[in-house]
Subunit: 237 residues, 2 copies
């Protein structure tokens, strides 16, 4: 079976957490909006309705007859199927809980540049963004990252869940990498307190399939349209 | 088995979505922090660590040996066990996706009074709250509520999922009721466009177990410490 991923074609965004899992799994998938017949219209068509179950927003994964929306929901579906999550219920719920904490974190990252409204430009909410990001870098990012660091520590240091790589590890790679892109100065300081997370990030980057993916044109570069944006004025040491 | 719910004892908050399911299911549960030996300390103890899987934040449900965190994760667990969600995978994923959209919506409701930081008082971010809430009531609330209205319409009008009550219906009840508490003026206008959602809300309120719960001391009253807060200056017609 070939999965179909529906997500905006020009950003990593929330779709990237799914792309990383599909790549690490070596799964066959089509990143539909980036294909020849794709484009943004292919995503809009999905949102207009898949039978009576239209998703609220992308990403959406088509797996056979199933259309699944919300990144964390999709990862929960893919994980056990591709040996990137425990199969037993307790482990599945724990991995999903971790992913939902990352979902909350990612929303707060997004709000560093859009604290008032998604419908407004960054430039029109810059004043609020400066204040929001100040609190984010001082309190929220260290709190979330410290939490995942603690989980790594309690679990032996290498992986967040169990004794092998799972999808939350891939998401933590993306989060640390993205924060480094967006806030290079602030992260230099924050990273001192999360050595296990940084080591996990580095290890994920070197995994053969991930390394090949990152070097390929399939990996969209970070840019100022996605979740992780580099606005130097927001990056406080 | 008696479930144990760990959540702050003085607010409805995110715990309320779980209380509603447990009440409608007629399940045995202890709202630990509200019990004699409870209090806020009982929640803090859970956050300090349950073995090596400490949750990031409440609510947490203890079910036998399982500790599950994140409201949507808990509801996904409880739903099929208490006939409040489909058992088949497609239905489970669809219900969970709807709940995750509600999770996003609820976070935005929270941000109407805390757009800068949870660690600051409302009074210290009132200016930003006024601007955020303006956009929220103009665009975001109608968009989310319109989405659920559309799902109800496509599904025959009475329920969000399948042909009987499920946990997303109970959550939509809580959301419409909460928004009505927080923004009575704005909701009077918005409700004109979501008749099916309002009818669902009314139907849920009259269900015998929910009606008994709402009339009991177990239901905490809305107040200005939870997600849905009534600050008249934010409520625009």
């Amino acid at each position: 079976m070939t999965y179909e991923l529906y997500y905006w074609p020009s950003i990593q965004g929330r779709g990237e957490f799914i792309r990383l899992v599909l790549e690490e799994a070596g799964a066959k998938y089509e990143d539909v909006a980036r294909g020849e017949k794709g484009g943004r219209d292919s995503v809009s068509r999905i949102l207009d309705g898949v039978g009576n179950t239209p998703p609220f927003a992308p990403p959406v994964l088509k797996a056979g007859n199933l259309y699944i929306s919300h990144a964390a929901n999709i990862l929960m579906f893919l994980g056990p199927r591709h040996k990137l999550a425990p199969k037993a219920e307790a482990g599945r719920l724990w991995a999903h809980g971790l992913q939902l904490t990352m979902t909350d974190f990612i929303k707060e990252v997004h709000d560093t540049h859009h604290p008032v409204a998604t419908s407004l430009y960054y430039e029109d909410q810059k004043k609020e963004a400066l204040r929001y990001t100040g609190e984010f870098l001082k309190s929220r990012a260290p709190k979330y990252l410290g939490y995942f660091e603690d989980i790594l520590k309690r679990n032996g240091g290498k992986y967040l869940v169990g004794r092998s790589l799972s999808y939350p590890d891939l998401s933590l790679f993306q989060i640390v990498t993205g924060l480094r892109y967006a806030f290079p100065k602030a992260m230099k300081k924050i990273e001192k307190d999360i050595p296990l997370s940084v080591a996990l990030r580095d290890a994920v980057e070197k995994r053969p399939r991930i390394a090949a993916y990152l070097a390929s044109p399939r990996r969209i570069a970070f840019n100022e349209y996605g979740i992780f944006r580099r606005y130097p004025e927001l990056d406080k040491k």
